[in-house]
């Protein structure tokens, strides 16, 4: 059965190749910093399961140390110039989109094919990781097509991948780190403390104000934690169930679904949701690392107000 483990081996191999090419890259003054950083990431992907929890913790500290000491630079890739690219694009035309589309198309039809045919019973792919595995397969097919059609130098895909990865830098690991921070917050009881505070500030008697505190709490806690999943159980236990569902008789489906979506409005506003807000700023080479968040404010706030109204009217006022 193809599991996530296979993908970890593949991803680890890619980061190991980035490390080797970084070490050989004389155009980068900080080349050994890059090499060590990507080698540590490769180690995590390859050996994470045999290092033990404490070993992984030390690995995390090492990764953080390299990034925190500003040892990462930007590599030099012998890529094509802009003029060459314009010329190549003119010659190759829109067929260039096809390899890029192989990845989503494989993931899309592959997932459908796998989930709605007897293929699922064969146990070929771990059902918990179907789309990610198919994404990986799509990448391999696309790479094979690129080699056969464009005939790039053998190392070109790795080197071009490294060019992009270097432009993202440490931000590429930030989402994973923040997920780990969430686990430590949970172990330290941060969620219970915030839920307790939220439960205390509820004004008695007004269902509308209770809805507002529930939604605001969900969004604020999401902004702090970086994802709504951590906020949801806390706010449901503090306000959603005791005050809204049990106390006021609100519809639990609305309280649950729209409560979560109120949290998602918070996700649009926080640098803690690094993979959605910080990584794309790096990937698109924005000068302002909070540029994506700034663009989302004017959608998040009106949408949050809509959520509060849906919670109150559909969940309570019209539901009874």
């Amino acid at each position: 059965m193809i599991t996530l483990q296979w993908l970890y081996v593949l991803t680890g191999a890619m980061f190991a190749a980035f490390a080797v090419l970084s070490a050989r890259d004389r155009g980068n003054r900080k080349r050994f910093g890059n090499a060590i950083f990507w080698a540590l990431v490769a180690t995590s992907f390859w050996f994470g399961d045999v290092l033990g929890d404490l070993g992984n913790g030390i690995l995390v500290l090492a990764i953080v140390a390299v990034a925190g000491a500003h040892l990462l630079g930007r590599g030099e890739t012998l890529s094509t110039s802009i003029e060459q690219r314009v010329e190549l694009a003119r010659r190759l035309g829109s067929k260039l989109f096809l390899p890029a589309l192989i990845i989503p198309v494989t993931a899309f039809f592959g997932t459908l094919l796998f989930n709605y045919t007897p293929l699922k019973e064969t146990g070929l792919i771990d059902p918990r990781a179907t789309t990610l595995v198919l994404l990986g397969i799509g990448v391999l097919i696309a790479l094979a097509v690129c080699y056969a059609w464009l005939r790039p130098p053998v190392l070109a895909p790795v080197d071009e991948g490294r060019r992009l990865m270097d432009s993202i830098g440490w931000a590429g690991i930030l989402p994973q780190m923040l997920a780990a921070l969430g686990a430590v917050f949970a172990a330290a009881g941060v969620g219970d403390i915030i839920g307790g505070i939220a439960g205390e500030v509820i004004p008695s008697g007004s269902v509308f104000l209770a809805v507002v505190v529930y939604a605001v709490g969900m969004a604020l806690f999401t902004i702090i934690m970086g994802n709504a999943f951590a906020a949801f159980p806390v706010m449901v236990a503090a306000i959603g169930v005791p005050i809204l569902v049990r106390g006021a008789g609100a519809d639990p489906a609305v309280i649950g679904a729209v409560g979560m979506l109120s949290g998602f409005c918070g996700t649009l506003l926080t640098p803690m949701a690094a993979n959605f807000n910080i990584v794309p700023a790096a990937l698109l080479e924005l000068k302002d690392q909070y540029g994506v968040i700034r663009m989302q404010v004017a959608t998040a706030i009106p949408l949050f107000i809509c959520n509060v109204l849906i919670l109150y009217f559909a969940g309570y006022a019209w539901a009874r």
Partner: protein, 249 residues
Amino acid sequence: MTYLPLLGIALVVLGFALRFNPLLVVAVAAVATGLLAGVPFVKVLATLGKAFNDNRYVSIIWIVLPVIGVLERYGLQQQARTLIGRMRGATTGRILLAYLGFRQIFAALGLTSVAGHAQTVRPLVAPMAEAAAEKEHGDLDEDTREKVKALSAATDNVGLFFGEDIFIAIGSILLIQGAMGGFGIELTPLHLSLWAIPTAICAFLIHGTRLLLFDRALAAPRRRPGPSPCQMNGAVAPPGSRPSPGNNP
């Protein structure tokens, strides 16, 4: 109950605000929070390490970079621009509006990883949105270019967040069901996903309106003659060709 562990949150906010390296901020905050809650250092480190290892799948997405990189080498972004240049009536707002719709529908079908910042926004959507802005309004100043790119990424996020909850087997729906189930309240995933639809429609209307208004804002202060042909392709440095100061604040 002690409020001491909340200092960890304050550290995160302070660290981000002062623009220290975020990896460093997160690690320091994690250790401080654990210690303030009375968890021994070694146990904190083990918790951090275990969670980091369990969440490796978050970073798998980078395996698309070699494909995107090699296609960029052969002119993928330039071709995306050319294609938009030929289309009549393709504006930044309309392109992003179409992408918003696609992203929401695909996410609602459970296909969240078929698109994304690495897979679609950087190689296709952002260059197309930029090219459309150039076609309509001539060469863009740095500030406008940043806004177009940031809006492309924002559109991907809005489409994903407010589409995925309509799919019945997504993690957040299962979490809602589980959390409510813990209080003896039984809900079906279908019932929950139905209640994600009103917000999804609001998201499309609100963000879609902003996208179309963005076209107007682009046009308003700068009515200049159309771009010369060389501006269409050559004058635009693709991402990757200039240093990115954003990485080391």
